[in-house]
Amino acid sequence: MTVTKGESAREGADDEGDMTGGAGDPVPGATDGYTPSARRLERERHKRARARRATAVAALSTLVTAVVLYLVVVNAPGWPRTKETFFSAQYAREALPKVLDGLWLNVRLLFVCGAAVLVLGMLIAIARTLRGPVFFPLRALAAAYTDFFRGLPLIINLMIVVLGVPALRLQGVTVDPVLLGGTALTLTYSAYVAEVFRAGIESVHPSQRAAARSLGLTNRQALRYVVLPQAVRRQVPPLLNDLVSLQKDTGLVSIGGAIDAVRAADIIVGRSLNYTPYIVAGLVFVALTIPMTRFTDWVTARMDRQRAQGGSL
């Protein structure tokens, strides 16, 4: 059956909507006893066929790509050695328990430093967004802090804190490399996170604050109940980015001799010259990140739903 020019189905239409809104379409549901015209049925059939074809083509091309990549890798002349060096089951078995032992350190650091970073970052962001001339020194200090610690390479920061602070031989200051390393991480990451929070605070429209103030809220209440909730909610994805990044950087405390997941892998690699433990450690980190991402997505979605019920913009 041919379709007339005016309503020719678009090439490769892949939207599943059943309302094309073409010329001369009857409005469905407007009258009872509506029966779709033969032309409409034909059009829908045609669209379904197109969708099926699109899926089939996508599946086929994916399969072809996968097979080609597999063949490229497996037929590479160095593949047997690469497999032996990076994907050895024996070394994976040996490495996994040790890597997981090390990972426990990463996880503890992530939770403690993550909490400290969120609190400190928020305080710095608030300090930077305070209004009024009296707060100038506070604003300047917060700005200097973020500038300095965002710019300072983390590895150098860690070196200075982990190896430099104990050299001062201060009474009552810890020489534990993990505590010192955690401090260095917190310094750097709170600068990142402060900027994320500040961007969030500044992205809330001034009218929100004005409205809150006109309702009789104090400056502090306006910040606490109106501005910050919106600011934080908007900043969840970039915050999560920073947390995932922090999770991987916790491994850098191994500068001070502590054994984290990557260093545990390092030890086996150094002894055996087989790189499989690195792959194991890498996969373990990825496995740790995925649930974290899903969880925050879920939290964000839930917050959005609640907000939608409130009906506010």
Partner: protein, 294 residues
């Protein structure tokens, strides 16, 4: 109604598949002919100066940067000073490559063992020979018998240790990927987890700062550290050899390298005619004995 997009899409997908297909057959790196991993197989005549080196007529020798004393001097491997620099030049000489034909290359420890084409002919970097490591690379014969030693601050908790049992309750440190670390985990078996550092430099700082009680390194390094770098530390003692054969440093070559047998032959000859002993005396002469920890 434009037929162009469909035609275009078809063309693009066809091109993509064609491209991937060519990728399968794309020219791989030429492998060395000597993929038979038997390093001593029918040794090609080690014609002096005519070996199948990376750059013909030159011998490319790799080591890590920075290059540490007493193995190298002034972080300049090419100056011929320091034990390993001298050994490298002596081996090159044996193979028929004069000083001018030796090219030095800086290759990090880990990169020297990665599979894939090597950029150097051999690597000299205080790498201990082990059967496990032989699965990944070729080693020449050993050019130095190494022992491990314990360093501690004078007056520190570890300074009075006379036996391995005395070290058990201390916080020990070592560099990652070293046999020193293996000695801690396999021989001392300390109650506290050992501190593991990326470089001996950090282990030295930790020792100075009191973050560890003692550090394990090889004996020549231990002598250098206590005499020049951390002068308020002393060598507490050295470990007895584990296993039947002495631990040895070997030159690292690519797995199945065509040069392995020639290089090994050169090292053996140098050991036989006393050159190795002479170089050792010249550069590691002060590495006299330290008390043995039982």
């Amino acid at each position: 109604m434009h037929p162009a997009p469909r035609a275009l899409r078809r063309a693009v997908s066809a091109a993509t598949i064609a491209l991937l297909a060519t990728a399968v057959g794309c020219a791989p790196q030429p492998e060395d002919k000597a993929t038979t991993s038997s390093s001593g197989s029918a040794a090609k005549s080690c014609a002096p100066g005519k070996l199948a080196t990376k750059t013909s007529g030159k011998l490319t020798v790799a080591t890590d940067e920075p290059a540490y004393e007493p193995w190298f001097k002034d972080d300049k491997p090419a100056n011929g000073k320091g034990f390993e620099s001298a050994v490298a030049y002596a081996v090159a000489e044996r193979l028929g490559y004069g000083r001018g034909a030796v090219v030095w290359q800086s290759v990090p420890f880990n990169k020297a063992f990665a599979p894939g084409a090597k950029t150097f002919d051999f690597d000299i970097n205080q790498v201990s020979i082990s059967t496990e490591r032989k699965k990944a690379v070729d080693f020449s014969s050993g050019y130095y018998d190494v022992r491990q030693a314990v360093i501690a601050l004078k007056g520190g908790k570890a300074a009075k240790a006379t036996s391995i049992a005395d070290l058990r309750n201390l916080k020990l440190g070592a560099q990652v990927g070293t046999t020193s670390l293996d000695y801690i985990t396999d021989v001392v078996k300390p109650k506290q987890q050992a501190a593991v550092y990326a470089k001996n430099d950090q282990a030295k700082s930790a020792l100075k700062n009191g973050q560890v009680d003692a550090v394990v390194t090889d004996l020549p390094t231990a002598f250098y550290i206590t005499s020049a770098e951390v002068t308020d530390a002393r060598i507490v003692g050295q470990f007895e050899n584990q296993g039947a054969a002495p631990e040895q440093f070997g030159l690292v070559l690519d797995k199945g390298s065509a040069l392995t047998s020639c290089v090994s032959g050169a090292v053996d000859a140098l050991r036989k005619d006393g050159t190795l002993a002479r170089i050792e005396k010249q550069w590691l002469s002060d590495a006299v004995d330290a008390p043995v920890l039982k």
